[in-house]
């Protein structure tokens, strides 16, 4: 209905959030809620899969900024995967690749978590 959806999947101790549709100031609260749920359940290893996301604005990026410190303080991380070039450009323009690990594929992100 709102044009945005978060699908949750678990692989061992890693939570994978699959984003779908558009992520703007209207739908960002839904992502916030999904991440808050992870934190509440002490799930600190999180992959965000962007494969089905068609649009992102700074309101969406702000959500990641708002959670990353807390997640890392608990020894976890927020890793990104499967960004199309349009989505990647927004992250890139704002310097996110210096702050977050971005993987071509969800599996690569998963391997990185598991290899630690």
């Amino acid at each position: 209905m709102d044009g945005f959806e978060v699908q949750r999947k678990i692989s061992n101790d890693v939570v994978i959030l699959n984003l779908k549709g558009y992520l703007d100031a209207h739908t960002a609260p839904q992502l916030e809620k999904a991440l808050q749920t992870c934190i509440d359940q002490k799930e600190y290893k999180i992959i965000i899969n962007f494969e089905n996301l068609s649009y992102i604005s700074s309101a969406g990026l702000g959500v990641f900024m708002g959670f990353i410190e807390e997640i890392r303080q608990h020894g976890g991380d927020l890793k990104f995967s499967n960004m199309n070039p349009k989505i990647f450009r927004v992250f890139d323009l704002l310097g996110f690749p210096n702050l977050f690990e971005i993987f071509d594929d969800e599996r690569d992100a998963l391997n990185k978590f598991n290899s630690k």
Binding site: D2, G3, Y22, D24, A25, H26, Y55, S57, S58, A59, L61, G62, V63, M65, G66, I68, E69, K86, V90, L93, L94, G95, F96, N98, L99
Partner: protein, 155 residues
């Protein structure tokens, strides 16, 4: 396609659930004028950021006050004005966002105007504290088609 001189004007309630309508409206006009998909994406995002600021900062979320969007097409140039009658601010106090510093301060935000300036060819912010704000953004039609200077050199 040569763009004609043309003016479009949209007044829409200052609510986040209208952002999608605004983006689609702007994208359709930009496409009609002849921008490529890449530039259309940039224009869409810049307008979204300007309107999100009106909703969040000028009118403190989900008011019924209108966002005023004017799109003017003059030959090779698309000019977008996003105007509000909200509280305004002092744009000279803005600084370029530093993500590392943000993290340290646990601050979220400050990215919108920086994005607009990177996505559009010209961005001007005209704010009158207490009276409102106007963002003026320009995108040139031919720039997108030419390769960037570096690429032109290296080939």
């Amino acid at each position: 396609m040569a763009a004609k001189s043309n003016k479009f004007h949209l007044k829409i309630p200052s609510q986040t659930d209208n952002l999608e309508i605004i983006r689609d409206f702007v994208a359709k006009i930009a496409r009609k004028v002849g921008f490529n998909e890449d530039d259309i994406n940039k224009i869409e995002l810049a307008v979204d950021e300007a309107c999100t600021n009106v909703i969040k900062h000028a009118y403190d979320n989900n008011s019924k006050n209108p966002i005023d969007i004017t799109i003017q097409i003059d030959y090779q140039k698309l000019t977008i004005l996003v105007t509000d009658k909200g509280k305004g601010f002092d744009p000279t106090k803005l600084k370029t966002p530093d993500l590392q510093e943000y993290l340290a301060e646990m601050r979220v935000g400050g990215l919108g105007i920086y994005l607009m300036k990177n996505l559009m060819d010209e961005v001007e912010i005209n704010s009158k504290p207490g009276k409102g704000n106007q963002v003026r953004m320009v995108k040139y039609l031919d720039k997108g088609d030419a390769p960037p200077p570096q690429a032109a050199n290296s080939s």
